[in-house]
């Protein structure tokens, strides 16, 4: 007698009861999910780049090559390279030694070691201090090499400056996260605002019946949290196929990504933007009579 029939689903408004989920909330959830997924991929990419750079930057070397015909300049160049701020040490590898090493690496191909040495340059191996900031380190190395008509291994130079680029990219990613977070908050706020407008009569009635403000607003705050957390959860799940697609490439580079580490940031991030969006949407919901009293 005092039970709700099985076919009836009670939808009592207010308090900790979620309002019905409609198309506006679904669209907001999809948009926020895509934004969070993009951010998740971006930060995972940075994680990969950090691993890649970090794997060789602890003991990073740059090579400078001096033609064998200019051997007389090798001591002057060595001294100049040694004097550059940020260069930890300079090792000189003579062509004969280089030829022996190559012969050791590439076995059984019948190279004449002396003939090979005659074609190899003098090699300067520079160990750098990558953790320290030396504004003109790479420019100074290039200048010193060019003064003696030596060549710098530009591929190594590009890799050496990667950390600087990564720092810049990390800053840009932080800024993009902030901007996208704000945009996601506004999207959820807008979706909830439409729900609030659609339920204006219900809100007005609850206030007329004496409902406390938290009781009126709580369903919408909860809805914002659920939309945000749901979008964050789905965005995290959608990271896995992308990682699976890139697995061969990651394996080749010896990188191991940790998408589990993104679960908490995406869920909490989603909840934060959802909660803030809901708070923004419900900040100023006034019923007609409240407006009368405010302006009176």
């Amino acid at each position: 007698m005092n039970r709700v029939p099985e076919q009836v689903r009670l939808r009592l408004p207010g308090g900790f009861h979620l309002p019905p989920f409609g198309i506006h909330q679904l669209l907001a959830a999809v948009i926020v999910c895509v934004a969070l997924w993009t951010l998740g991929l971006g930060w995972l990419g940075l994680q990969a780049a950090d691993q890649w750079v970090g794997s060789w930057q602890d003991e990073f070397t740059v090579h400078v090559y001096l033609d064998v015909n200019k051997a007389s300049q090798r001591h002057a160049l060595e001294q100049e390279l040694q004097d550059i701020d940020g260069v930890a040490s300079v090792s000189l590898i003579e062509p004969g030694s280089a030829a022996r090493q190559m012969q050791t690496w590439i076995r059984d191909i019948g190279l004449d070691e002396q003939a090979l040495a005659a074609h190899l340059p003098w090699t300067f191996e520079l160990r750098l201090h990558p953790q320290e900031e030396h504004a003109f380190l790479y420019e100074d190395i290039r200048d010193a090499a060019h003064r003696h008509q030596a060549e710098v291994n530009e591929s190594e130079m590009a890799l050496a400056s990667a950390q600087r680029w990564l720092d810049q990219i990390r800053l840009a990613a932080g800024f993009a996260t902030l901007v996208l977070g704000l945009a996601m908050m506004l999207i959820i706020s807008n979706a909830l605002r439409m729900t609030l407008l659609a339920r204006a009569d219900e809100i007005h009635l609850m206030r007329l019946l004496g409902a406390r403000e938290w009781f009126v607003r709580m369903p919408f705050i909860l809805e914002g949290l659920v939309v945000g957390a749901g979008a964050g959860g789905v965005a995290w799940v959608l990271l896995w196929p992308m990682i699976a697609l890139a697995s061969d490439w990651l394996d080749n580079l010896g990188l191991g990504l940790h998408p589990w580490g993104m679960l908490f940031p995406l869920l909490i991030g989603g909840m934060v933007v959802g909660g803030l969006g809901a708070a923004l949407a419900t900040m100023n919901i006034m019923s007609g009579e409240q407006r009368l009293n405010t302006s009176a």
Partner: protein
């Protein structure tokens, strides 16, 4: 108890809805508010439940000064007042049960506790069999009875009814008034605005008459 002294209400538009109204309503009374359209009946009811604040003069409802009272206190007061609106203000996307349960929900009742109470009040207004129907499936008279059930479900000591019989035929209007009189006999103070003068003859009670925002009879 409701006390008003030289009460004035002016809306932001500049329209003076009530002017110099002094009134006293004791607990347990049944009071008709009468007067032409725009006389200030609905405005007086709004002042009582805190929908608008007096511009000048004084008004006390259940001991609260309605000019100074904070919004949180107004909400508390409303939980002790049942209101029947002329346009019902029923939620058409909710069932009869959900509509009637709303005041109890607002007061924090659990679903298990409010089901028997909602059943009881709907039995009182003769709608026990329409518990799970939607308001749009009900006639105008039935909708008004749902509105009365919602107003009385929390057992408030004061019930305000703003022209509850305005859109009803004479027989249905009498039936609705029977319910209100019945509630009054159980101790509820009922204040009902109306311009159906024939009801005053069939259900006699104290009449407070308003004209152009001023009290012209029944003040004491």
């Amino acid at each position: 108890m409701i006390e008003a002294e030289r009460l004035m209400l002016r809306y932001p538009t500049g329209k003076v809805a009530l002017s110099g109204v002094s009134l006293r309503i004791e607990p347990g009374e049944f009071v008709y508010l009468t007067g032409e359209s725009g006389a200030g009946k609905s405005s007086l009811l709004r002042l009582i439940y805190g929908g608008v604040r007096p511009t000048s003069g004084s008004m006390r409802v259940h001991g609260l000064d309605m000019r100074q009272v904070k919004e949180t206190k107004v909400r508390e007061l409303r939980r002790r007042i049942g209101i029947v609106f002329q346009d019902h203000k029923l939620l058409f996307s909710r069932t009869v049960f959900e509509n009637v349960a709303l005041p109890l929900r607002v007061q924090g009742w659990t679903t298990e506790r409010l089901i028997p109470r909602v059943r009881k009040v709907l039995e009182y207004v003769g709608l026990a069999d329409r518990l799970w129907a939607y308001p749009e499936a009900l006639s105008g008279g039935e909708q008004q009875r749902v509105a009365i059930a919602r107003a009385m479900t929390a057992n408030p000591p004061l019930l305000l009814a703003d022209e509850p019989t305005g859109n009803l035929d004479i027989d249905t209007a009498r039936l609705v008034l029977d319910y209100l009189v019945g509630l009054n006999r159980q101790g509820t103070t009922v204040i009902m605005s109306t311009h159906d003068l024939h009801l005053l003859e069939s259900h006699p009670a104290r009449i407070v008459q308003l004209h152009a925002g001023a009290l012209v009879g029944g003040a004491a």
